[in-house]
């Protein structure tokens, strides 16, 4: 076979593979779209039950043979999932490119640390304070910067993430690089034991109570996010994401809604930080590097930005795969990077793309907009060959 023939059959193969994955993903979603109410509720309950029994030993032996499965379920898996849902509101729904999301996670974590160690408040009180403070920090970041166009916002949010980390590192009030230790656990609510676990007793050795707490928080956040998506707010975000100028012309107060997206996303990040800090009991500024922001963003895009099951799956994979393949130690990040490039080349819309967004992407417009210079050329043969008009943001 000539080399042309080989490359043709390779690309045919890839094309068939992609179509097969697409069908595989579509099938359950078709079923879901037409499922009656009671079927959906059954699935929800099954999923929650599944999440609760997930930390079992036998599952752990398969999923995480090198490190403790229940610990890994809390961090990085659970934490990444919750952070991804929060970032999804900012990036996926409102279409704002945030490269500094870790800052809000840090605000939450430090709130728990400061109020826990210096003022002796209890966990539930601090959770509320943490959510409020993070939302405020989201407003502080957003107010001067949300008038900026897409990519400027990216570098500015990146800068903000670094500013938070460096300020924490330089401030004696939070012990600088030494960080804060001795953060209190949530108060143990009862010693009740169910199936051999004490789910409401928060100690150090057993990570499962924290995991259940996180599951509860995730469920609440999903309900909240879904309601937002279907409400007026969510529709405004969709309009802003598609074409901000048109939305403004139609009377949508874009700036206010963008600010709301920022604040809500920040609040979720902060809540996650509070819960995480109460488990790890000691935090340092270097727990919040830029690479964490990039990782959560990758999780959102990889999974399918804009839809919750997608970003949850993306976060799960991004968190779990490096842990699972600890045996490859040295090569973990190398493979992660290569996987990101490969996934984007093969399936840029993510594993579980939002179907609304998929329609947009097919035209190469909307969402985050496409790259310039994408005008099809003689050599190009992309899947999208409709008119490609660049939508400005």
């Amino acid at each position: 076979m000539s080399s042309n023939g080989i490359s043709k059959s390779v690309s045919n193969g890839i094309g068939n593979g992609k179509a097969a994955v697409g069908r595989l993903v579509e099938w359950p979603r078709e079923w879901w779209a037409t499922a009656p109410g009671y079927a959906r509720w059954t699935v929800y309950l099954l999923l929650i039950a599944g999440a609760l029994i997930l930390p079992m030993e036998p599952i752990g032996r398969v999923m995480s043979p090198h490190s403790d499965w229940a610990t890994v379920l809390f961090y990085p898996i659970g934490v990444f999932i919750l952070l991804a849902i929060g970032l999804n509101i900012v990036v996926g729904q409102a279409g704002l490119l945030d490269l500094g999301y870790v800052a809000f996670f840090a605000v939450g974590g430090y709130t728990m640390a400061i109020f826990g160690t210096k003022y002796g408040w209890n966990f539930w009180e601090i959770l509320i304070v943490g959510v409020v403070l993070s939302a405020i920090s989201g407003l502080i970041l957003g107010a001067p910067t949300l008038r900026l166009r897409g990519d400027y916002l990216a570098i500015v949010t990146l800068g903000f993430g670094e500013i938070v980390r460096i300020t924490a590192n330089n401030s004696e009030y939070v012990n600088g690089p030494r960080g804060i230790a001795g953060i209190p656990h949530p108060p143990s609510l009862s010693e009740v034991e169910i199936f051999g676990v004490q789910p409401l007793k928060y100690g150090v050795l057993d990570p499962r109570p924290y995991y259940y707490l996180l599951v509860a928080l995730i469920v609440l956040t999903i309900i909240f996010a879904k309601r937002l998506e279907k409400s007026r707010v969510g529709r405004a975000w969709a309009a802003i994401r598609e074409d901000e100028d048109a939305a403004e012309l139609m009377g949508v107060p874009t700036f206010r809604f963008k600010l709301a997206a920022f604040a809500i996303g920040a609040a979720i990040g902060g809540a996650t930080g509070v819960v995480w800090a109460s488990k790890v009991i000691s935090i340092i500024p270097n727990n919040f590097p830029f690479i964490l922001s990039a990782t959560i963003l990758a999780a959102v895009v990889l999974g399918g930005s804009g839809n919750i099951p997608g970003v949850m799956l993306g976060a799960f994979l991004v968190a779990w795969l490096p842990e699972r393949f600890r045996g490859l130690e040295d090569y973990r990040v190398l493979i992660f990077g290569a996987a990101l490039v490969a996934m984007m080349a093969l399936r840029p819309e993510g594993i579980l793309p939002s179907r609304q967004r998929k329609a947009e992407l097919a035209e190469g417009t909307g969402g985050m907009g496409s790259m310039g210079a994408e005008v099809p050329t003689a050599s190009g043969a992309g899947a999208a060959d409709t008119d490609q008009v660049e939508v400005s943001k």
């Binding site: 490190s67 690089p177 030494r178 150090v204 000691s282 270097n286 490859l328 130690e329």
Partner: protein, 380 residues
């Protein structure tokens, strides 16, 4: 796709170093936790090798209860350390842990060891606050930063006749901690100190160099690791700052000389609460250890190797005396008092080593040989 390829690759590679589990009749498992593959692994691999040497020597005597050393690579990350400790306790049934190697990971991982009641001895975590937490199962065989800071300050004042010292660090936990204790020690002796910070991710230290130049110090101390220390030293010398350059245990590596350039590194001194003494200047035990180490690993013992050996020795002595449960071993450690390679192996009630000195090493050509104890060493 990419995912399945990754899965296949790893299924093949994931045999790992899973040795036997501990706790059957005639062997117990001791863990070693630290950064074995990251960029600071140069400070963790020697103590691991030291510990392995001690344990292999013990097992070779055909004892009733053998010891298996199982290593855990935390890459210095606290969250990895924590989840590894969890699985070490629950799945591998370790009866003791050598480590965690770094202070940062100790903060998060030791509370788990406390609740799990696992005696742990660190060969290299030097942060002072670790000894102040009232932990009952925690120990270390290395002097802390306060001790190192006092020792360095004493040396600089005595030997360099320093009245003004410029102290720099890279604003990370270990570096800042050590730099602050050096500053404290110097100020107590009436020395004027100015501090500044370098960014470990950057390469251009001009702003710090300029500050040092303007200050005109008698000596400069850098708290931090050799990659940044070497860079700082090079840029200082290139910009005409000739004051004596000193650094702490994080710089005790030939990389300091390579980074700065041999010409620039002349006369530089490095302090360490550790003892690297292949010629046995300090004690014949050091020479014997160095020879055994070289025979097994084909390289000279490096930083904290002797301390790793001593940490393992502490556990070995406990097990030799018939203690094989975590509680019994911890009780034994309270009263242990045997000579080790780096110091007498004895712990105070907080878990700190009962004795120990700070040592000074000085650059000679491409090497960093021992100059002497900080309280005695002479520059001239």
């Amino acid at each position: 796709m990419a995912l399945s390829a990754v899965l296949a690759l790893s299924a093949a590679a994931c045999g790992g170093d899973d040795g036997g589990s501990g706790g059957d009749g005639n062997s117990v498992t001791i863990g070693f936790l630290g950064d074995l593959t990251g960029e600071n692994s140069g400070i963790v691999i020697p103590p691991k090798q030291g510990a392995q040497l001690a344990i292999d020597e013990y097992n070779a005597t055909n004892p009733k209860v053998k010891i298996v050393l199982k290593t855990y690579d935390s890459q210095g990350q606290p969250d990895q350390a924590t989840s590894l400790v969890q699985s070490a306790i629950k799945s591998d049934n370790i009866v003791g842990l050598i480590g965690p190697a770094f202070s940062g990971e100790s903060q998060q991982a030791v509370p788990v060891l406390e609740e799990g009641k696992i005696p742990n001895i660190s060969a290299s975590a030097t942060n002072v606050t670790l000894g102040e937490k009232g932990w009952k199962y925690w120990h270390r065989v290395v002097g802390n930063d306060s001790m190192q800071g006092t020792g360095v300050a004493e040396f600089l004042v005595r030997e360099a006749k320093a009245k003004k010292v410029f102290v720099a660090h890279d604003n990370e936990d270990y570096s800042k901690g050590l730099a602050d204790y050096v500053t404290k020690g110097l100020k107590e002796k009436g020395v004027t100190v100015e501090q500044d910070v370098v960014d470990p991710r950057a390469s251009d230290y001009s702003s710090t160099v300029n500050k040092a130049k303007a200050f005109k110090p008698d000596a400069i101390f850098y708290g931090g690791y050799y990659a940044q220390g070497g860079r700082l030293l090079k840029q200082l010398r290139e910009n005409g700052v000739d004051a004596l350059f000193a650094s702490g245990d994080g710089s005790l590596d030939k990389g300091l000389i390579e980074g700065a350039g041999e010409k620039n590194a002349v006369n530089t001194v490095v302090s360490c609460p550790c003892l690297i003494d292949p010629t046995g200047e300090s004690s014949p035990a050091s020479k014997k250890f160095a020879e055994a180490y070289k025979a097994k690993y084909n390289s000279e013992p490096a930083i904290y190797a002797a301390e790793g050996y001593d940490a393992a020795t502490a556990f070995i002595e406990a097990i030799k005396a018939g203690n094989t449960t975590t509680e019994a071993i911890n009780e034994f450690l309270k009263t242990i008092d045997v000579p080790g390679v780096s110091k007498q192996i004895k712990f105070d009630d907080k878990g700190e080593p009962a004795g120990g000195d700070v040592y000074i090493y000085r650059v000679e050509g491409k090497e960093l040989p021992l100059l002497g104890k900080a309280s005695e060493a002479k520059l001239q």
